[in-house]
Subunit: 123 residues, 2 copies
Amino acid sequence: MSKQPARTPLPLALADCHTPLVAEPLSADQAERLAPSFKALGDPIRLRLLSLIASFEGGEACVCDLTDTFDVSAPTISHHLKVLREIGLVSSERRGTWVYYRAEQPALDLLSTILSVPQQAGA
Amino acid sequence: MSKQPARTPLPLALADCHTPLVAEPLSADQAERLAPSFKALGDPIRLRLLSLIASFEGGEACVCDLTDTFDVSAPTISHHLKVLREIGLVSSERRGTWVYYRAEQPALDLLSTILSVPQQAGA
DNA sequence: GGGTTGGTTCGATCCTCGTCAAAATAGGCG
DNA sequence: CGCCTATTTTGACGAGGATCGAACCAACCC
């Protein structure tokens, strides 16, 4: 993996926590770093954007492919993409006229692991 | 004045979506139902509360066991527990003097599945 | 019953967030 | 260069959320 160029304005959510939260209590520090990622997923438009981008052919989508799907203005879409990007759930790249967004699957996978429930858990 | 029997005021987040969001685009309806659950997880205190409850011995925790861990007031803890309860991530039960909270693991597991990344995903 | 502890609701305050219109930036084209 | 399209930034506004103290409800005990 390449090193992070420290471009994200917020501390990266991908902290050192790889343990399901049901297995052992999250520390305050871990919770502070994880919560913003879940918050970013806590908006229906962002959830759809992420899903749409991830399931686009080639794994990436141009902004122009996304805007028409929603009933909100282009600045609003741009705002939500920025939230997803700054938290590290998507990355963006400009190629000529268009800007392409791509889902950061490791980030998603980490969050999935955090929420996962190990087998023997339960009563 | 009859009391409402403590039913969840919001439609249950556990909708008919069991497919990872990277696999196919979420519908607007699915996103509307899933987002509130992620939003509920988007607060550090709620994240810790959930983790603390789930990892308590017996899988449940009394409120009195939780409040001391945090620097916020009891009403604030109660508020966060209510958010988690109304969204279906925890359930509560009064036994005598104390109220016990328990993590709803199927709900967690569903959210985990939504975020999971199938093997062949990607370009 | 009166008092005590556990937990929630109420009301108010402050701050964040989602949204838009308008303006600004970036790139391509004639 | 000037213009057009694509995307982002800015500024403003209203809605919602986190927090607290105070008041309130629930269960136990003497």
